[in-house]
Subunit: 260 residues, 2 copies
Amino acid sequence: MIIIGEQINATRKSIAAALEARDEAVIVKAAQSQAAAGAHYLDVNGGDPREGQEARNMEWLIDLVQANTDLPVAVDSANPQAVELGLSKAKKKPILNSVSLEKDRLDGLLPVVSKFDCMVVALLMSDGGTPCGIDDRMANSEQLIKHLTAAGKKIDEIIVDPCFLPVSADAASGRAVIDAIAAIRARWPEIHIGGGCSNISFGLPKRRYVNFALLSQAIYHGMDTGLIDPCVPDIMATILAAEAVAGRDEFCMNYVMGMR
Amino acid sequence: MIIIGEQINATRKSIAAALEARDEAVIVKAAQSQAAAGAHYLDVNGGDPREGQEARNMEWLIDLVQANTDLPVAVDSANPQAVELGLSKAKKKPILNSVSLEKDRLDGLLPVVSKFDCMVVALLMSDGGTPCGIDDRMANSEQLIKHLTAAGKKIDEIIVDPCFLPVSADAASGRAVIDAIAAIRARWPEIHIGGGCSNISFGLPKRRYVNFALLSQAIYHGMDTGLIDPCVPDIMATILAAEAVAGRDEFCMNYVMGMR
């Protein structure tokens, strides 16, 4: 499982405050604790509506993260200026998080995708909205992957985010996204699949149980990338256990090592 | 999900001691706490190697459980005398736990199966051993279900226990049993599938994570019966969450009610 640490995101109050105050300690702690907990990439989001500010935030965050950990970053933005600056600062092959089929976003980011040696998250949203079934997710995957391969990406440089929707709103939405994951895995064996999946439990009590059930089932069907908080021990244990049960951990070595 | 409470089992030290001392309070507490926690059946096992003792234990346990809860029992024994006595004492339609393809066990129990109006657990073991793949589990299911329907059982009175084997011994064993569950579910849509699945984590640290991952994945593929301890809140939450994500809980009503 590829673990992308999700903590450094301006939608979190503590990170937004640290960005505003340029408080390095908060960011360094988030970076180092996620690295120690087993993250493979660190997501970096400096979202800010003020003109030019998101790019400045991105630059500051990436310099800080790279000065204090050895991990590659996931440049998390839909703003072409911030994305390009972020990717240009990356010392190790980064992830662009994310492109989608939304026309403005796609038009703005495809030139950047072509320009950099990076992985890219393909979020299955389009101007028509968020896909909620299997067929629409497959159709959007076909289209978006076509754009990305035309822009020079190999299949194993693409991480499809299938869009996890709340089961509280539609009881079929869990099974739909899991079956879509299985279909995407079957269609493109080399691709990566995953993203932030805690939206599945939106509106429900004790959300972690629903998140863990989704993770276990999605991993069984081919999800191999998680945008998660690796500092929550239960999440990492759930992922390692799900991989062991799904037959992706010979002799359970990863599980046993991870549980130490 | 059909929840069979597993606590009242002579392989547990506290239960063995209570059986020996005929200590009613221990058994009543185990029965009532499991009932309060949401069990639908209470498993009752009075295993004892001494001649005639298992049947005497079974009678004492079942009378006690039925005097103190309204739940039906699962008569847990391979001893025909104990099973027959247990089933004859049952006030509500019980479960016979379990028959298998092992010749002595099958020959001893089939006449009892025919005689009583009961559900029956079909454990897929045979004299050839424990099945570890999909094909052997399907072949054993076909044979055993043939015996049971010939003895008068309807398909929806049968609970197939697919035999959960440790992933620590064979990394493929989790995926094998889960895929077998999916195949059994597809072949007999009305049948019940499940059993005690904690054997999956034998030999591993922090076993609950592995048990929960297996439960989530197995429920997704059609497991609908669990021989579990309902007094462990995490287990019930995991089951309810897995059913919600798998699309078996309209409006997440069971999950929300269960989390109160």
